[in-house]
Symmetry: C2
Subunit: 447 residues, 2 copies
């Protein structure tokens, strides 16, 4: 390892100062500046950082960036030690238990923070898991695999393809269920993607994340993971789901259908909500209760159909007052095949967009309408604006989430290039993305 | 009126058939087709409609489009009558009551449906209002004005300017409060806009809408309007607010702060929610209860400051997996001054966008980050992605709504052209758009 690697991210003045005192990432550093003393572990910097700050992790656990002013005095007061992640031996596996594959794609759930350096590292070998969540040994035999180590905001449709194929391999090997550990940021999108890509599932595929890392006292990682493994091993459904806290307490885990779920809070443990649908199931005291009658039953003899391809020529465009209509033209010129408009209310956009939408439809770009209200159902028959948009060829997305609709259209244009076929697929309820219209909805509509 | 105007929107075959039987909009029509009989009032068609359907309003109140197949027989069975909207005389106004100006911009609240033709018409003269909601005469002396008759999805920043100036005129005339009747689709955006444009308010400015039109039995129009007028006349606060149903029942109206409110359901009466904040006040049985201590008090001697200008060079861009980074470049090339990114989780986007963001910031385009989670607070110090984005110069929007942030930046660039000043204004809490960080937020954050 070169000295630069040992000072990862530092450059210019900061690098020079740290080299001059022989410091490496992980060493204990003291900076005295303007009469104040900062002591902590030297941690790596982002490649986009400047060359004027040294970042240390204070004893409190918080990181602080100290600016190198001319009066600052930096010294090394202790040597870092190599992190020791020695996993305990695997527990004896009970051959009577169901077999669950855990595929890790990254995110907080799949990591533990090295508090020495602040670095986050994937820790999802089977023995790591048993060491962090020993109760898993009572639920299932675990086969753990690290597929990616990605923050989920960096996951793209190409990763969904690999995820879908990997799940299919595990199912071909005969597991009783699959768990996918995933960053929470885009977990809803990935769950929707696999809902379309993995059809006719014989067993459950359960996404799981955590809002706080496993080595924090308030972490939701262990409870969520235990719930996800239990669902994968024993739940009566065979669909793609997301397992997360139902409330901020640890008492229940809820399983959301992959096409109806959305992250609705930046940080709470119960951030994930089923939108316009009941969740699939609830887990309380290791007991699974189904919350709907309308689901695909587990059936190991069912033959999985894998359709893992996605197109990247699908855009999600959120409408706002004053929006430039030529953004639509730009997507058309770039060769996009479909645009999901996140309109207002029952499914509206300004009439200033009509000409651009007309041109898009004439060029066989599929334009579909969801609502930025998030809850409720698009109904484009109520007002002139909606009727005009329907007449222009815009397809209403009923109660489907805009995010799910975007993923679905990416998936559709991964299956076909034919606009008419695409339209038919969009209107077909493939993975519970449309909920049946509830009886009171008519009364809820405007005049 | 020409025959074509009497058959507004009809063309080709449909126009020909209707002309041949001498039918006009509003006439009672019978269509017999395939053994079925459709009877109803002939209603106008959208200009984007085809030439093969005739649309009638059935006795049930629903509209139906009947396709003109070769076997269809169309006849006129009754003559339409001119609509009679004869307003009753104005009630005697009690000079002891507060004076409230109602400014109508359109939308369901400001209209009533002509059930003869299906046409929606503004009906907000003072006498119309008293005839629809007679209890208003007990609350305030009403001065009603129709400013626009727009579906709110067609409202642009230029309309906000006119609205702000009109409110200022009414306040200069000495009213005790102003009500703005508005379509619900973009009412949250407009309320945010006026929150920034009207500073140092002496009296309340209350937006009001309805989710169902006044002539439907389940309408929320009268209760919302009564609540809004009561708040304008008597509430102790002097801020921009939105008055809507608190629940689906008619028992309480809630007043949301203009910068913290969002339409969260396509059709429910309680669609509007305060996000990351308590509502300002609740009205129950004509009694106003403040729900927060933190508000600007009504003070008629306070001198209003009007800053009504908005820039249209501000974009709202919602991130999704696979998003094309060059969309950012496109906005930069188009001369945009600011971009609000609606990122994931605590305020993230894919690292594939970093280069485009870097270029934007280098060209003095202000890039700010909100969360598509909607609830919770952006915190870009937790993960590498956030820290990288901060290092690139992206400004975190704390717990501000993405919609409010977009409006605020439009307003900011209507005030200044200086990027540094713009940044300072963005970070300043001008109209309650930032909530104070609550104590438990630290615990809620990731490691």
């Amino acid at each position: 390892m070169s000295l630069e690697e040992n000072l990862s991210g530092y450059k210019g003045l900061a690098l020079q100062v740290l080299q001059s005192i022989g410091a490496e990432i992980g060493d204990l550093i003291r900076i005295v500046k303007g009469g104040r003393v900062f002591e902590g572990i030297l941690i790596p910097r982002s490649e986009y950082g400047d060359d004027k700050h040294i970042v240390i992790k204070l004893r409190s656990g918080y990181n602080i960036g100290v600016r190198l002013t001319p009066d600052a005095k930096v010294e090394k007061i202790g040597r870092g030690e190599k992190p020791a992640f020695v996993a305990p031996p695997l527990p004896e596996q009970n051959p009577a238990l169901p077999k669950v594959a855990i595929i890790s794609t990254g995110g907080t759930i799949a990591s533990r923070v090295d508090y020495r350096t602040g670095a986050v590292r994937p820790a999802l070998t089977a023995s790591d898991l048993y060491s962090v969540v020993p109760e898993l040994a009572d639920i299932a035999r675990i086969d753990a695999q690290i597929l990616f180590s990605l923050y989920s905001e960096n996951i793209t449709p190409a990763h969904w393809t690999i995820m879908a194929k990997t799940v299919a391999e595990k199912i071909a090997e005969g597991v009783d269920g699959v768990v996918i550990a995933h960053g929470t940021d885009t977990m809803g999108y990935s769950a929707a993607a696999l809902s379309f890509a993995l059809q006719n599932l014989p067993v459950p595929v359960v996404f799981v994340g955590s809002q706080r890392s496993a080595d924090r006292p308030s972490s939701d990682a262990a409870t969520n993971l235990t719930g996800a493994v239990l669902a994968a091993a024993k739940a009566p459904f065979a669909e793609v789901a997301v397992a997360m806290h139902e409330t901020i307490s640890d008492t229940s885990i809820v399983l959301h259908r992959g096409t109806k779920v959305r992250k609705c809070h930046t940080s709470r443990r119960d951030a994930f909500k089923s939108v316009n649908a009941q969740p699939l199931a609830r887990i309380k005291e290791n007991h699974i209760t189904m919350l709907t009658e309308d689901y695909q039953r587990r059936d190991p003899s069912r033959r999985l159909v894998v359709k893992p391809n996605f197109s990247d020529k699908v855009a999600l465009v959120k409408f706002y007052p004053g929006m430039d209509p030529t953004i639509i033209d730009w997507y058309v010129e770039k060769g996009y095949r479909a645009i999901v408009l996140e309109g207002t209310g029952l499914g509206h956009v300004s009439n200033r967009l009509f000409q651009s939408i007309k041109r898009a439809v004439e060029k066989d770009v599929l334009v579909a309408m969801a609502s930025q209200c998030i809850w409720g159902r698009v109904n484009m028959n109520v007002y002139d604006t909606g009727r005009d948009l329907l007449a222009l060829g815009v397809i209403p997305l009923e109660d489907m989430l805009a995010e799910t609709a975007t993923v679905k259209l990416m998936w559709i244009y991964g299956q076909t290039d034919n606009p008419e076929e695409a339209k038919q697929l969009l209107k077909t309820n493939i993975a519970g993305e449309y909920s049946t219209r509830s009886l009171y909805t008519v009364e809820e509509n405007k005049p």
